[in-house]
């Protein structure tokens, strides 16, 4: 790897990568919120040609797309030549499921000669390892709920839907959709008490066959606190395949809330 460029979306991951790769180019985008510390270079997704040029000028050989990009508005009136060349592939990509755009971006960067890396390759210590990471040992009932949630995610995988689900006492209380894990946890927390029969478990896993360079699932202290606020008893994730942001703070959140966090090999 000559030089890494971090294409920064939201959340804590881009800054963690920048800390581990201090020489990396730090790219942020118009209309995409970010927490990347300076110095950053700002670009527009409407002008991908300009981005390619800037990456080459900066000596970047490898890229990582890190953090949630949301769905920034594209404005065809502002497309540069590089973006015009991609334009015919945009609409089909948008229609091919939630990850279509990110998969297209990776394909386009690779065609431009860049090597696209996954954050989990660059920072393997940032994934949840196998075993109990923190909190109490889960009960058999919680493990059964987790298995059912994994089954639900597996069934949805071929449809490119669902990196998270909540099951409580055998009942599915939430399936993660475009709005993300935190929105699902708020929804679960609003479940009328009369419908609930237990606490429940959040499961996070990448879709089966998912390219982990695309929108790899992540958890962190906010996930733990939001899961606790939703009345859950713990979190189970696919070991080695879910990013763990702010590990120390996550451990503190587990201590505070009494939730468990378990990495399970599938």
């Amino acid at each position: 790897m000559q030089r890494l460029a971090i294409l920064s979306g939201g959340g804590a991951l881009p800054a963690a990568l920048a800390a581990a790769y201090p020489e990396a180019l730090r790219i942020v985008f118009d209309d995409v919120p970010h927490q990347m510390p300076a110095p950053v270079e700002q670009h527009s997704l409407n002008r991908m040609g300009g981005l390619f040029d800037a990456l080459r000028a900066g000596g970047a050989s490898d890229l990582v797309l890190a953090g949630a990009m949301g769905r920034p508005a594209l404005n065809p009136a502002e497309f540069d030549a590089g973006m015009m060349a991609i334009a015919p592939r945009l609409l089909p990509a948008m229609q091919s499921g939630d990850d279509g755009i990110l998969r297209l971006m990776i394909a386009v960067f690779e065609e431009q000669g860049f090597c696209v890396r996954g954050a989990h390759e660059l920072l393997p210590e940032l994934t949840v390892p196998e075993g109990l990471f923190g909190g109490p040992v889960p009960t058999d009932a919680a493990l059964a709920d987790a298995s059912r949630a994994f089954d639900i995610l597996l069934a949805l995988s071929p449809l490119d839907v669902g990196q998270g689900a909540v099951v409580s006492a055998g009942l599915c209380l939430g399936v993660e959709t475009l709005q993300g894990t935190d929105a699902m946890l708020r929804f679960v927390g609003e479940t009328p008490e009369a419908l609930r029969r237990g606490r429940g478990v959040l499961v996070k896993a990448p879709k089966r066959g998912q390219d982990l360079r695309v929108d790899m699932p992540a958890i962190g202290p906010d996930t733990v606190r939001n899961a606790a606020a939703a009345g859950l008893e713990g979190i189970v994730v696919s070991a080695g395949r879910v990013l763990l942001l702010q590990a120390d703070e996550t451990r503190r959140a587990l201590d505070e809330t009494g939730l468990f966090l378990l990495g399970r090999v599938l």
Copy 2:
């Protein structure tokens, strides 16, 4: 059929059945909200033995379980002998997915010699027929969203999850879980504008292989209004397999909101 007994949960369906079958016994339950007009006979799910006796005393040969029962609290201290005999099957039923309890109730009533009917058999005119029921002709994009939502429901079917889903411009914005359609529509309506790329379609269908006597999906004017409030452009349902409550009022809601309602044969 000697005499029908309507075991009433919530919503408008039990009263519609009572209007069509004026001689039917009308059973309501402690802790289960209902809109069944008098005269009703009130029972407790803790005393199923007493219910069997009352049904026989009333000359009931056939039963229909109509309307949402929620998950009424059972109190083993109040179980009668009839309920004690069922008790060992309760816990496994509760753990076998969202419909486990209703499937157990049907099995138990059949063992007791009653014939359990579906509301769609008793009132076939109450289901959404094939074709455009009301509102504008759906666009091809809306039909494509509906197909994707049907695919999502089909994938979840074997897991006993999901009678409804919302897809908008190819993106899944909601999967119905225990909390029901209206809760999902509220959740969809809270989707940040930046994440949305179009209006979208609500699809409702029974789970594949679902016993339609168990928790048959239903729509009505509230569904239409809630779908409109969530920013959707229409509703597509499995023709003949989804109950349509208050057809006239539903048509009025379609006129008011400009949404379409389409019955599709799968």
